[in-house]
Amino acid sequence: MKQKLSRLNRHKMITMYALALVLWALYALGCAGWDALGFATGRLHTETLALSDLSMQDVVQDGDGRWVTAGGDPQLQLDPGQEVRSVTFATDAPASGFEGYYGKAGQDASLRRRVWAYGSGEGQVTLVFPQGCADVRIDPAGGEGVVLGDADAALTLNAPLPLWRYFLPLGEQGLALAVLPGVLAALWDLLAYWAGRLRR
């Protein structure tokens, strides 16, 4: 055991990154399990919200009844009444234009709580949030004239996510995974150095 610890001590950086990966995998599995439990207990459920039921800004219906962005800052404000883990939108608008802001109820949108959408299939855009959130705002495009969908366009909340999706870090989670193990290895090394000095 002492030998093993000594080996880990010699390879602090590798140890910390390996530990981070293990912890991340456990965290991802935990999130997947927590969501599965949520679906089983009714805390989460898949729900469809028509665009016409949402509060909107700079999004209007054109003459053909299509939903179109009509100003510089189009927004869809969701008031879902349940925790939201993901939003899926069947649309031909480019996924690159979509971004989502999440938070607790009543919290203002913040650049620090922002996620990007990805194309999850032909004509389908998905936003996944790193935690269950009560307040969600979706900005579907950066400008006007983008057709979001027909008159009956709708969003799907909490469509079940494939298991692999939980293992993909989102935004700052990726930063933490890339940087924190290195910082902790340095801290470990520094503490070990001082411990050695004090022992002497």
Binding site: M13, P94, G97, G171, L175, V183, A186, L190, Y193
Partner: protein, 654 residues
């Protein structure tokens, strides 16, 4: 595939770095930077000699040989021993990770200067296999900028197609190699020193360049502009010297030669760095009572630093005088002075001889800015100067090494002198070169100053890292530096949302660029490559024109206007707009018709039409410009009818 081909370039670089680490006394973490400097010089020289592509093949051949030589036994030294040093290992891991990340993220150019020179030049070099000086571009192409950074981008895409992310990754790998230099003295396993050193380097551009309003957050570490690499190469040239106890001068000479080929102002900075290091080398030799022959050798080597700067700087001047018609003898601007004349006149004014009000106002404004404007994340430039001095003093105070204390002293005094000289030089450009509307507001002052500060701070960091090797009391400096860097990281974390950086941004950051690229590809699909294209984008301030010149290259986008009145803008009949309207081309229909045909254009790309254009020029088009009602359109000249025929809409128009 592009990623794999870029990794091949990285592997070639690794061959040379490994060879340097193994066969010379250079500390392994400095080897990637020195190898990159050599690479940039090699490709720049090859470009000047007109043998860029063959030299590339020779380079990769030599790299293969370097790999072989690296693994040939030399005494008892293990070929892989260099890999056991944290900075060396970290560099290759980070460089490969960066390439992979950029291959996925696909960052793109986004600023004006990237389209007007840096990005366009990179595309020209890759597309033509030659330097860009005499490229056939639709405007008075200022191809006189220096080539080292451009060929760095070329090196990372020597194999495979042109891609912007490969250029940007090349720049970042240069920066990573500079950060690795800081870890030169860090022994195996000492992550407590290596991580803060790398973190310090990585955070510097955030701390220094973001508050001057000249760097967008998303562009940091995703830009092909020269300022940050220039500043950090300046610092790297000094850091590579300070971090090597043997005080070898040849790596610094290589770095200084590279610096002189990165940008014109690099020469001034290289002279400052050469001065600091030359004085340091000579003072060290004198203090150590070196015998006369050794002192003579040191003096000769110190002089060699200036020779390296001079040769590098003049090589480009000579190349330009041979290959380009551009006048390189004066610095241009409002006074049309030569460099020497400008400095002499400035010095006279400084001591009061013939001092003008303009000189007093500009210099006074710059000094005031130095202490009052919040130009960096840590405060005004004066705070950065103080921080650099404090770091150098900390290195002197906490080291047991007497020579390092002397080095820190020389660095502080001469660095301050160099800063004053550089500051004065920048002031002179505002007095004598820039137009009044630029010099009155000291426009871009921060941008010109921060390369020096970046480099100076990096070099001060190298002194601190070096002092840790024999610190007193043991552990204090490394702990203090780690806490200091953690504090800097906290500051950046608080001030810069991660989603605004290239590492955390979404596709939307580049959505507009992707759209213009798609439009350009549609235009290229319907216009023959040898045709000249006339560009119309009503209301443009020149930025759309520059952008499409870049996007369409190697297709030729015409200057699209008569001399001094092209490159974007609004076409309208004389009198339709006030005469002093910016970028207004007051042409009659006949004048526009002649302008298009006289410039040899057979195609028109109307990116943005409007009522002014339709009212003035619909008669020149066989469909009366109906095609433009649906959006951007391409027209082709029909000699039979002397009209322009509609070809197609582009950009997703119906």
């Amino acid at each position: 595939m592009e990623l794999i081909l870029s990794l091949v370039s990285l592997a070639a670089l690794a061959g040379f770095a490994l060879l340097l680490a193994r066969r010379t006394a250079l500390p392994a973490p400095s080897a990637p930077f020195v190898a990159l400097c050599g690479t940039m010089l090699w490709f720049a020289a090859a470009g000047m000699l007109g043998v860029l592509v063959p030299a590339g093949w020779v380079y990769f051949g030599l790299a293969a040989a370097a790999w072989g030589l690296s693994f040939a036994p030399v005494g008892r030294k293990n070929p892989l021993s260099a890999l056991n040093v944290p900075g060396f290992t970290a560099f290759w891991v980070l460089a490969a990770a960066l390439l992979a990340f950029f291959a996925w993220r696909q960052p793109m150019f986004s600023t004006w200067d990237e389209f007007s020179f840096w990005g366009t030049a990179a595309k020209i070099v890759k597309t033509s296999g030659d330097l860009y000086v005499n490229a056939e571009i639709g405007w008075a192409w200022v191809g006189t900028h220096r080539p080292a950074l451009i060929v760095l981008g070329y090196f990372f895409q020597f194999f495979g197609p042109y891609a912007e992310w490969r250029v940007l990754a090349g720049y970042d790998i240069l920066l990573l190699s500079l950060f690795a230099v800081l870890t030169a003295g860090v022994p195996k396993g000492a992550w407590r020193r290596a991580v803060p050193a790398l973190g310090f380097g990585f955070l510097l551009p955030f701390l220094i360049t973001l508050y001057g309003n000249v760097t967008r957050t998303t562009d940091l570490y995703a830009s092909s502009l020269s300022d940050i690499p220039l500043g950090l190469t300046f610092g790297g040239a000094m850091a590579v010297y300070y971090s090597n106890k043997r005080r070898a001068l040849w790596p610094t000479a290589l770095a200084l030669a590279t610096l002189c080929l990165e940008k014109d102002t690099g020469f001034a900075m290289a002279l400052v760095a050469a001065g600091i290091i030359a004085v340091d080398a000579v003072v060290s030799a004198l203090a150590e009572k070196a015998p006369a022959p050794l002192l003579g050798r040191t003096l000769a080597k110190a002089a060699g630093l200036f020779v390296a700067c001079g040769v590098s700087f003049l090589s480009w001047q000579m190349y330009l005088s041979a290959a380009s018609t551009a006048d390189t003898s004066n610095v241009g601007g409002t006074q049309q002075m030569g460099m020497a004349e400008m400095v002499i006149t400035g010095c006279k004014e400084l001591v009061g001889i013939g001092r003008t009000e303009k000189f007093s106002t500009i210099m006074g404004g710059m000094v005031q800015n130095l202490f009052t404007s919040t130009t960096t994340m840590v405060g005004p430039f004066g705070v950065v100067v103080a921080l650099t001095v404090v770091l150098a003093l900390a290195a002197a105070l906490f080291t047991r090494e007497k020579p390092l204390r002397r080095q820190a002293g020389v660095f502080t005094v001469l660095g301050l002198g160099g800063f004053a000289a550089y500051f004065f030089f920048i002031g002179l450009t505002y007095v004598y070169v820039f137009r009044d509307e630029v010099s009155d507001g000291l426009v871009g002052f921060e941008r010109y100053m921060y390369p020096y500060l970046l480099g100076w701070l990096l070099a001060a960091g190298a002194l601190v890292l070096r002092a840790m090797e024999e610190e007193r009391p043991a552990g204090l400096l490394q702990t203090g530096f780690a806490v200091f860097v953690l504090g800097l990281a906290g500051l950046v974390w608080l001030r810069v949302p991660f989603t605004l950086t290239v590492f955390g941004c979404g596709d939307s950051a580049y959505a507009e660029r992707r759209q213009t690229r798609a439009v350009a590809e549609e235009v290229q699909a319907v216009v023959p490559e040898d045709a000249h294209i006339f560009f119309v984008s009503q209301g443009d301030d020149g930025s759309r024109w520059f952008l499409y010149t870049y996007e369409l290259y190697p297709w030729y986008l015409d200057y699209s206007g008569t001399t001094n009145m092209g490159g974007g803008g609004t076409f309208a009949l004389p009198g339709a707009l006030a005469e002093d309207t910016l970028y207004y081309h007051p042409y009659t229909a006949d004048e526009l018709h002649d302008c298009i045909l006289d410039s040899g254009c057979s195609y028109l790309f109307i990116e943005q039409s409007d009522d002014l254009f339709a009212e003035g020029y619909a008669s020149l088009f066989s469909d009366g410009l109906a095609g433009c009602e649906a959006g951007s359109a391409v027209y082709e000249y029909n000699a039979g009818t002397d009209r322009f025929d509609f070809v197609c809409n582009v950009g997703g128009a119906a």
